[in-house]
Amino acid sequence: MKIETTFIADNSEWASQCSRQPDKLHFPITENPARILSNAWVNAEYKHMVVAGDAASLAAQPGQFFHLKCPGTEVDQPYLRRPMSLYGVNPSAGTVEFLYKVQGMGTRGLATLAEGDCLDMLGPLGRGFEIPDTTRHVLMVARGVGLATLTPLASAAIALGAKVTAMLSARSPELIMSKERLTGAGADVIAVSDTEGNSAVPELEALIRRLHAQTPVDFMTTCGSNRLLKLLQSLSKELGVTGQIAMEQHMGCAVGMCYACVRPFRQSADSEELSYRRVCWDGPVFPLEEALTW
């Protein structure tokens, strides 16, 4: 894909303050110093960050992600960037959102950002979800971080005219996030949790079968969890429903250059032939039936 451009990237501009939004419209992916609008805790483990996006980042699609340069501290110096899914984008408000779990050096650094600070973000990256235009009922099954990735898909599907059922699973009810956001977008939300004792795979399976019996599901998505992947793979096969999964892998470049982020995939459904694909560039969203459980 050749990008038509006479634009000469001026990096002094790029490197300068985040208040300036350099004109990089010619490039679909930008390394953009974005201004933080807010970065608040949603529960004990997760933060919700809203930034002012440039034109390129405002074109982000559900399932795509950004590669974030996490600020260092005296002790932590995260050398590489960290991938984060698009949690929301609002082109008219000019905002891009992330929902992230604070767990290691990089995300601890992200958590230190305050309103007005600068976040160097590279993106949007990867291939997002591709829901067939004819889709009538999307089932999203998400746990933990997977929620951040799936949430923006709901509005997109609803905009297509589809019904969306979001099954949210978490360790405890307090860790269920995005319920309001999903309901607000018009999705039906089913929340389950380990402490309530209704999040085991057999129970989810029964739930999905009931749902499908009521309003047939014709697109299934999930993210991250191995046991959810297994469940959806077997159901999608049995019920003849297509679907996609968003995968994760440790990344170097996030733009398809380093081949660090590979995972094995089947060439096609049921194929015995495997090959590595780059999560960052060939994905992170892949056909459900080609993913390998691990």
């Binding site: 894909m1 990008i3 590489l80 733009v255 398809g256 982020c261 590979v262 995972r263 090959s275 590595y276």
Partner: protein
């Protein structure tokens, strides 16, 4: 106006900055104007298709990274049809990087990919992951000589062997490459390294060992580039740990004619353009009219002046 052109043998580059093999791909064209680069260097390919090493393939340290990728390759036909075609849309010369299992295959692959659009071929004789314990052609002067000879016999396209820093006698190997007709040498690839997770007792990359890259490695690889530049007459292309114009200038001062930027492309895809801009600014500030004046311009400390007193 600073003149930024450099000559690498018969090839003139608009400026001395290019990517290091394996750290650049088509995706970069969606982020920066790759027409501003001195050259384009692609990921090493083999003649056949290969999958590379199992994941996890990467670990991160404070100032460097450990990669154990192997040489995943879509093969020579894909390269000629897809990769070369893609880069022919752009102006900088395209440098292909190849690897092979035998001396003959190095020659054959060089011949095969000498298609219009390929303006130099890097010989990756140094990939630390491909051969057991990193023992590759580039560990040995004789094997290096043979590989370069086979490639030179097979094609008119300039040949740039890329040295491995895991070799002790890098100067000897550089001389062997020159002797065999190399048009330039790239110094260098990555040092073999490893890391273990003390919680799980597992190695941080599945392959146990990988190549360590990034700024922390610069002083070692700079030393090697300097040693080679002092020994050979052909151009040396410095590579290792470059993330700023100062780093690139350090390599030029040490004797390199051009530089390759690797891991820094991952940290910031704008790095190479920034390096070019800042080299120009540096030259302007210091009234240097041609970037090539920096090449080999390192000075030396004067011996301590003992002011009439005899030294010991």
């Amino acid at each position: 106006m600073v003149n930024t052109t450099v000559k690498i043998g018969s090839l003139e580059l608009a400026n001395p900055v290019m990517p290091a093999s394996g750290t650049f791909a088509e995706g970069m064209a969606q982020i920066i104007d790759i027409n501003r680069l001195g050259a384009i260097v692609t990921k090493t390919i083999t003649s056949d298709k290969r999958q590379g090493n199992p994941p996890p393939r990467i670990a991160e340290f404070r100032n460097s990274t450990l990669f154990s990728i192997g040489i995943p390759s879509k093969g020579a036909d894909y390269y000629i049809e897809e990769t070369v075609t893609f880069y022919r849309q752009y102006t900088p010369p395209l440098v292909a990087s190849i690897s092979a299992d035998s001396i003959d295959q190095f020659g054959e692959l060089a011949a095969k990919i000498s298609v219009p659009g390929v303006q130099a071929i890097e010989a990756n004789i140094s990939c630390p992951n491909l051969k057991k314990n990193g023992q590759a052609f580039g560990m040995d002067a004789e094997a290096t000589y043979q590989v370069v000879r086979a490639m030179k016999a097979a094609t008119q396209v300039p040949i740039w062997p890329k040295m491995t820093p895991n070799a002790a006698n890098i100067v000897e190997i550089a001389l062997a490459a020159q002797e065999a007709g190399a048009d330039a040498i790239v110094v260098s690839n990555a040092l073999l390294a490893m890391a273990i997770d003390v919680d799980t007792f597992l190695p941080k990359v599945a392959n146990v060992m990988g190549g360590i890259t990034g700024p922390a490695m610069k002083p070692i690889l700079l030393r090697m580039a300097h040693q080679c530049a002092q020994a050979v007459d052909i151009p040396v292309i410095g590579c290792g740990g470059i993330e700023s114009a100062e780093d690139a200038i350090e390599y030029l001062l040490a004797g390199a004619s051009a530089v390759q930027v690797g891991t820094a492309n991952f940290v910031s895809p704008n790095t190479m353009l920034q390096v070019i801009n800042d080299i120009i600014a540096f030259c302007e500030r210091r009234d240097i009219s041609h970037v090539s004046e920096l090449v080999g311009a390192m000075r030396h400390h004067e011996p301590i002046r003992f002011e009439g007193v005899n030294s010991f």
